[in-house]
């Protein structure tokens, strides 16, 4: 797959034709992508698509059966220790002993690295300052997740791999975690974010790789994937007065106009909302209650995975 890179930043992770099977079960069939320095790269897919196995291979926790891996110029199979110095990992199904205190866990993990970060500062930044003396088991789910981010960052990594970070968090905690991840990226850490939340990938990621049935089915910026899936955007609005359909249809972004009762639905692509609102403005009208029913990453995801399913079925491989 020829891959469009976001910019000319150096590639820090290169995965080529990664393959990993557990006995007869193929967890990762053929996965290739590259991650550039300074971006938030999303690895997106349904449960069981092979996301976690992919990042576990990247982290040197599992030995792939085939393919090439390059992380910061290191081979995870060979240079595990050096890799772990420079790559912070937060994985699902990882935990700490129930009765370890927050500050003790941070001090312990800091001792594992050559150049640890200031643990107190990290706890401050992640809002765990008041929980320093608490047992791990007494933290809320969100606090445990934030502590695991602290531990993933304690070694001052160049790359942080974060797996299903916001699963199980309430919406408020999730939003706070997103802001934290952006802050971490802004501090110069490249982030690989594994998720099955479309909203999360859309909001955070510079680029995403969609993985399904152990294969990459698309790589690119979340917005581009919508186009790649050739799905269109829909804008629903109510106008203060009628604007001729012809005016709207003449816009390059617009492909069709529909009337649903008092609502006007404009279908098209590109920067549809701006184009439509400006058109109303030029005509001296006001577009109210503008809602995008735009093709989201979720639509793209469904369209792309459906296509992949259809292809697999046609090839006689029922999933």
């Amino acid at each position: 797959m020829s891959e469009v890179l976001a910019n000319d930043s150096p590639v820090v992770i290169a995965v080529e034709h990664l393959h990993k099977a557990y006995g007869a079960t193929v967890a990762v069939d053929d996965v290739s992508f590259s991650v550039q320095a300074g971006e938030i790269f999303g690895v997106l897919g349904r449960n069981g698509a092979g996301k976690t196995t992919t990042v576990e291979c990247l982290s040197g926790l599992r030995v792939p059966d085939g393919g090439c891996l390059d992380v910061l110029g290191l081979d995870p199979r060979e240079d595990g220790r050096e890799l772990h110095e420079r790559v912070g990992v937060q994985l699902q199904e990882s935990a700490l002993p129930p009765k370890i205190r927050v500050a003790e866990a941070v001090e312990l993990y800091a001792s594992f690295y050559r150049r640890p970060a200031d643990g107190d500062h990290l706890l401050d930044v992640l809002g765990l300052d008041e929980k320093r003396g608490s047992y791990y088991r007494d933290l809320s789910g969100g606090q445990q997740q934030r502590l695991s981010i602290v531990l993933a960052l304690i070694g001052q990594p160049e790359i942080a791999i974060l797996d299903e970070l916001t699963t199980g968090l309430d919406p408020q905690a999730r939003r706070e975690t997103w802001e934290l991840i952006e802050d971490v990226r802004d501090s110069g850490v490249t982030i690989v974010l594994v998720t099955h939340f479309m909203e999360e990938a859309e909001r955070l990621c510079n680029r995403v790789a969609l993985i399904d049935h152990g294969k990459v089915i698309a790589v690119g910026p979340p917005a581009n994937l919508g186009e790649q899936a050739s799905t269109s955007k829909r804008v629903r609005l109510r106008a203060s007065d009628q604007l001729s359909d012809k005016v709207l249809e003449s816009l390059p972004e617009v492909s069709a106009v529909e009337h649903h009762g008092p609502d006007l639905v404009v279908i098209g692509s590109g920067d549809l909302v701006t184009a439509v609102v400006l058109a109303f403005d030029r005509a001296g009208l006001v577009a109210k209650d503008v809602r995008t029913e735009s093709s989201t990453l979720e639509d793209a995801f469904l369209a792309l995975t459906d296509a992949a399913d259809a292809e697999a079925t046609a090839g006689g491989l029922t999933p």
Binding site: E107, L108, G155
Partner: protein, 391 residues
């Protein structure tokens, strides 16, 4: 995972120090093992030391007092609690909780945590042995013509044997609960061999002959001889060395750091104790049809229920229905005979897998064969045949 061969740099030393410190803190916060391993032996030393008749030489024990002969037993008891129960249970729990998994992503390998666990537990053994001897000598004039060199050697080999077996349990137990169960199973016979239920001299000779081949029996003999000022004898030392070498080697070879693989292994061991019968039935049968056939066909003392399965790993472990294709058949009263019936549809026919076991083998056999008979009679046709191959 890369083979953990630690390059000792100053920072690595700090990591190991921190790991040991953390393990000590955690042990202090969950003190049940410490109470048993440090408190009870000292308490027993005080109790036995305070009873005059037990500190006097007795003919029953070949001229020694009960007190002196029970001292090595208490030491072996400490080794059993820490080596067979505490060490494997905490390692298996760490693995199950993902603590080892978490550590594997850092530059310090998870084996360092195992090392810290062993170090802390060996430390507790030494403290406990020192307390037993110190309290005995200081408060109760426990005069032992002990051979310090032989005592150190015997203790070291005993620790090697018992902790080697403990690591083996940790290697094979898929969860902390299984490790505890294995440790508990070993506890009584092992404690018996060390004379916890009375010095072995009071038992028939054949019991003593068997016990001296047990790790705890050999440890008792070696410690007893060393405390009595004798050379422990090649027999006891050799048995301890053999246990230490064989079981440590097995543990090193088979230890799995991630929980999935450990559970697969532990599942294979359980499968040896499990009986599986497979029945092929014609046509596509639904789970409901099989359930109905079993409810109607089996005698009323069998309960036929939809199965549940566990959901969630660490927190909020709960049961959820396992779906219509998994059925549990059990004898309602005793619950001893119990089989899991799983319906697997393949093109053309339906395979029903009956799994039973983990209890008294007779009841397992009985319930599984009854289920098979009913299914073949009511859902099979003349051409139906049982298959030996389970898929």
């Amino acid at each position: 995972m890369s083979t953990p061969v630690a390059a000792f740099s100053p920072s690595r030393h700090r990591a190991y120090r921190m790991l040991v410190l953390t393990e000590l803190r955690l042990a202090w916060r969950t003190p049940s093992y410490l109470v048993v391993a440090l408190g009870i032996p000292v308490l027993l030393t005080v109790i036995f030391g305070s009873i005059p008749s037990l500190t006097e030489p007795s003919k029953t024990f070949g001229g020694a007092s009960f007190f002196t002969i029970y001292t090595p037993t208490l030491m072996v008891l400490v080794l059993i609690v820490l080596g067979f129960v505490s060490l494997p249970a905490s390692m298996a729990t760490y693995r199950q909780q993902g603590v080892l998994h978490r550590m594997s992503t850092t530059p310090v390998p998870a084996s360092a945590l195992l090392g810290a666990q062993v170090a802390v537990n060996v430390g507790f053994v030494l403290v406990s042995v020192a307390l037993i001897l110190g309290v005995g000598a200081g408060a109760f004039n426990l005069v032992l013509p002990l051979q310090f060199g032989w005592l150190v050697l015997s203790l070291a080999l005993s620790v090697g044997a018992m902790f080697g077996i403990g690591l083996c349990i940790a290697a094979f137990a898929g969860s902390g609960r299984i490790a505890l169960a294995i440790g508990g199973l070993l506890f009584y016979p092992m404690a018996f061999c060390a004379g916890m239920y009375g010095p072995l001299t009071v038992y028939p000779n054949v019991v003593r002959q068997i016990a001296k081949w047990a790790p705890t029996g050999a440890a008792f003999n070696a410690l007893h001889d060393s405390l009595g000022g004798h050379f422990p004898g090649w027999m006891s030392l050799g048995v301890l060395v053999a246990y230490a070498v064989v079981f440590s080697a097995i543990a090193v070879r088979w230890f799995r750091w991630d929980v999935e693989r450990a559970q697969i292994r532990s599942g294979r061991i359980l499968a040896l104790l499990t009986l599986t019968l497979t029945v092929a039935l014609p046509g596509d049968l639904s789970g409901e049809q099989v359930t109905r056939a079993l409810s109607d066909g089996l005698s009323p003392r069998y309960a036929v229920e939809p199965a549940t399965k566990f959901r969630g790993r660490l927190f909020g472990l709960r049961t959820v229905p396992a779906g219509p294709d998994v059925i549990v058949v059990s004898t309602g009263v005793s619950g001893l005979g119990r089989a899991e019936v799983r319906v697997v549809r393949t093109p053309g026919d339906t395979r029903v897998r009956i799994r039973s076991g983990g209890q008294v083998l007779y009841s397992a056999l009985s319930v599984a064969s009854r289920v098979r008979r009913v299914l073949q009679r009511d859902l099979g046709d003349v051409r139906s045949r049982p298959t030996n191959r389970s898929t």
